[in-house]
Symmetry: C2
Subunit: 198 residues, 2 copies
């Protein structure tokens, strides 16, 4: 197949294949798309990659991605309720629900003994400092509903309680619009445990 | 939601969303991946986009993408059998089958009255020139098995026959590994028409 490989195209496809969820075939499709771009189009694409790298940093308050620190959320909202998430993209997910108007705290990971990530490797200290500094009323633990997310939430809750702050966890249960038939056992058993009176 | 939008990230996500099959959500995931890249990693990515734009051109023989013209295939294989395809990526598909060792001719489109693409808008003249020049024995029409692909194949076959060249078309039938139950009517009727004696 060596005869059909074009070096620069293979190189670009290799870069694309590093994107989350992109396999070799898709990466090659993306590279072929770039060949078809105009010179200006390719330059805009390449430049916007470097621009993101140069402009985006972490908010010194919440640890979310931002171009100006403190970020727009931290500088426009009250710090009395903090929603703690694992990664910057989780902030987008919660914002999209339009159900929260407090601030965030991005841990940049969860405690994971298998991957050798301990409490000091994620931004827990920064969270404690914020809670003390702003006299936070409530911290909502919105880490993922998996083993690491649960463990991290419990660990942080333990550290926060002595500070007199209310610590809550996102409710777990069956997803809206899903079918009971296809819900996994753990989800269903949690939904039963946390059942509400109507 | 304006508070969570980061200008440079939105710009990059917009570039990613132009890639084939990429929606807004996926584009944003890709942009977030770029934020996490090292400075060097981002530079390699951006540079490889520009490198492809600068190095890749069309082979003057077959019209396929290449860095050197004539391409590796045209300069290493006999020109006696030409496989005619719609787009450069179709060359990859045929090569992957390992069932063909002749040369290719990329039309860069198919005749499509709806999109206002006529015979002069695709590389038909170049194909006729090649067939005359190299005294080609056979031209295999490997345009897509759809209305435009079939029409283009028939149109080109008509032009080639006076030159005394054998013109063939890829066989159509049920796909290997597929289930008869799910084959569409046209495919099934073609497979019946072209049935073979065992």
């Amino acid at each position: 197949m060596a005869t059909t490989e074009i070096e620069s195209v293979s190189k670009l496809a290799n870069e694309f294949s590093k994107l989350p969820g992109v396999g070799k075939k898709t990466a090659l499709r993306y590279a072929y798309y770039v060949i078809g771009l105009s010179e200006d189009g390719a330059k805009t694409f390449a430049d916007s990659i470097m621009e993101v790298k140069h402009k985006v940093k972490l908010c010194e308050e919440c640890g979310n991605f931002t171009e100006v620190s403190p970020c727009a959320i931290c500088s426009h909202r009250k710090q009395n309720v903090i929603c703690v998430v694992k990664e910057p993209k989780d902030v987008l997910a919660v914002e999209k629900s339009r159900a929260f108007n407090g601030v965030y705290h991005v841990l940049h990971g969860t405690i994971n003994p298998i991957l050798n990530i301990g409490p000091n490797d994620i931004k827990i200290k920064e969270l404690l400092d914020r809670v003390s500094k702003y006299n936070t009323e409530e911290v909502i633990m919105a880490t993922n509903p998996d083993v690491e997310g649960d463990a991290t939430a419990l660990y942080i809750a333990k550290l926060l309680k002595p500070l007199g702050v209310k610590v809550t966890r996102l409710a777990q249960g069956v997803s809206m619009g899903s079918e009971l038939e296809f819900a996994d056992e753990v989800t269903l058993s949690r939904a039963l445990e946390d059942r509400k009176t109507l």
